[in-house]
Point group: C2
Chain length 182, copies 2
DNA sequence: ATTGAATATGCACTTATTTGCATATAGTTT
DNA sequence: AAACTATATGCAAATAAGTGCATATTCAAT
């Protein structure tokens, strides 16, 4: 996915913010569909401003360095809406772990088992975090605004994604004879 | 994931082959963890040969253009095995559809519904293909070599991945009031 | 004969990403 | 006082990845 679209979606969908804020939003819903370094973000924001998709305003702060707050222009909004209407292909999977599994029988099995256990823990913690957020922010699924529904679905995608990893890890452990988990 | 690792894994795990063959293997198990254009592959193979990770042999063919068969060197194998032992982080998700959902309430709902239905069909077809391959190549899960187990698990990862997408699409359709599927 | 498909390779250009460096303010910790 | 953390921005260089174009052979179809 082009970083342009991710930034536009974030600025339109949340409030106008600085590059620093964008870089931080890896924790929030933005992190479900996009990650990038702050260097990428600053550069991309500058490019987008040159193209007229966003505009910035320098905000002087007393206790912190000044910052540039970016907001989406009408042109930017239109560009985003047009992009949404275009069909989207599934993003290609590039997963290290699967490449390792492809030749996994060439290394001692404990290396693979350890790696599965390590990765499983990472995904489990993420899943737990997502469940907590689900309980906290979306307690009443029946009563939600359109915006909330979409945010909820993105969170649900994170949940199904992590859950499918975990069930696969368990399958792998069972087949490869790894220890039971916890 | 670095394309280097994917190519090495493919050459070690399957048989030595040409860049053209590698590019075609998008259909087979290779496609679960890696996609690239033939241009990328040829360039990367050339680089890897310069580094000594692979070596090539030109094979003259009577009925087709000549081709270069690449095989992994001892150095390449060692490099791959060392890489496998390194821990692997989950690959960052960059999914267009989630960015679109982030601002989905800004466009008419039928655009989103249509896109869900279209994407659902793609994932369903892939899942069907994977199930067929599972029946065909792995009929007896209890009796498998180590190599077969790893191949089976990669296929299973493809299956859990696609299945999690489909269940999410159904959830989205239910919440957004889309038509029942088929 | 010419077009098209499959096999087979690759250069050149462009874009994307990563890494290292650099700067600046202010508060907190040692 | 010096070091560290958090906020805030950005350039430069290197590496990686992606797109467009170009070439060559053979067979099959029109």
């Amino acid at each position: 996915m082009a970083i342009t679209h991710a930034i536009l979606a974030s600025l339109v969908g949340d409030k106008p913010c600085s590059g620093y804020d964008l870089a931080k939003q890896f924790n929030s819903s933005l992190g479900f569909f996009w990650k990038a370094s702050h260097q990428q973000i600053y550069r991309e924001l500058a490019r987008m401003e040159k193209k007229g998709l966003v505009m910035s305003e320098v905000v002087q702060q007393e206790d912190r360095p000044h910052k540039k707050i970016y907001r989406v222009t009408d042109e930017g909004t239109q560009y985003l809406v047009e992009w949404i209407a275009l069909p989207t292909e599934p993003s290609p999977v590039k997963e290290d772990l699967l490449a390792k599994f492809h030749v996994g029988y060439h290394v001692p099995i404990h290396i693979i088992i350890d790696e599965i256990l390590r990765r499983r823990k990472i995904h489990e913690e993420k899943l737990k975090l997502y469940y907590e957020r689900e309980r906290e922010y979306f307690p009443d699924v029946a009563q939600m605004s359109m915006k909330a529904k979409f945010r909820y679905l993105n969170l649900r995608r994170g949940i199904t994604h992590e859950a499918s990893w975990i069930s696969w890890f368990d399958e792998a452990l069972a087949l490869l004879g790894g220890a039971a988990v916890e």
